[in-house]
Symmetry: C2
Subunit: 192 residues, 2 copies
């Protein structure tokens, strides 16, 4: 007896891909587990067993795009490396293709504490660790001010992007990223 | 014939207050126009006529707390003035009392473009104008670096707060605000 149902990693990949495709086609609000199951060739209970909510399924699907794409390059020039990494992050999650889904996900986390915790554990915390490591190297090499509070780096670097993503909802462009980086390196103070 | 129904500014005030009270008691998800109407002594059609959605009603109710509370003080020391204004903003909108409602509002704006536009027009844009004006004065007085990109000031100052409010969902404290301000004035660069 054979079955047309996919299994294991292939099935997971089909579910992730179907979630993203359907999410882009019909939007998060109309997305349903049933529709994802049908497109992926999976049983809907298979999906419910692994993902407790539509938000959890979307989180995993968006993270499946990520892989190691958001690692920092290392050219020796911290400003260039930050710029390249943040450009990649913007292209991936805030480009026209996935941005509405990423916004919907963050919207969901405002009333789903488990989903908020999962977003932090699986995406924000690892990115924070990478950012901190890159900046610590730069500080050791004298490229970052010893007075700069490195523990705030993720909030200071990402905050202005999330402000535009979630609050003003303007386009996130490479040019915007570059201006933010320039401003953060300059600092507001006169140094006087 | 007399009526117990309130009218005009009194009625508006009762609706705003009832929205905030009920929102704090039962949370945004369970909040209903009917319940607000009942508590405020208003007809529910009166509310629907003025506010197209629950989100729009919450936005106005949160803004009714604001008044001129978020104007910048002017002591002549820009760092002290920014600190005092941001502390006030944090106490008002991100204190334990209203924070869940403000988070719910921003969550709603992720799938309601009209509400997102209203939040920007009625809260973000006026605050941005005030922030820009305060920093321009400071730059004229040599307290802010002439190289700092002032048009980004709102994103740079507020972004890290929204990052904590919406993404990591950690407490927003005066101490966090102070550390962010110090980091932004220092800048990341060595000035080399």
């Amino acid at each position: 007896m054979t079955t047309a149902r996919r299994r294991g990693p292939d099935l997971t990949e089909a579910i992730m891909r179907s979630t993203l495709e359907l999410g882009q086609e019909i939007g998060y609000a109309k997305l349903s587990i049933e529709a994802v199951a049908a497109r992926a060739g999976a049983g809907k209970h298979t999906i419910y067993r692994r993902w407790p909510s539509k938000g959890a399924l979307l989180l995993d699907s968006l993270l499946s795009l990520n892989e190691s794409a958001l690692d920092y390059p290392y050219t020796g020039d911290v400003m260039a490396d930050l710029r390249e990494q943040i450009h990649a992050a913007v292209d991936l999650l805030a480009g026209p293709s996935f941005r509405p889904l990423f916004q919907a996900l963050v919207g969901e986390t405002q009333h789903d504490p488990r989903l908020a915790a999962a977003l932090n554990e699986r995406f924000i915390a690892p990115q924070t660790a990478k950012t901190l490591a890159r900046l610590q190297t730069a500080r050791d090499q004298g490229q970052v001010s010893p007075a700069f509070d490195l523990d705030l780096a993720m909030a200071v670097l990402s905050g202005p992007l999330y402000f535009r993503l979630l609050i003003t909802q303007e386009p996130l462009t490479h040019q915007y990223v570059d201006r933010i980086l320039e401003a953060l390196f300059t600092g507001m103070g006169t140094g006087a």
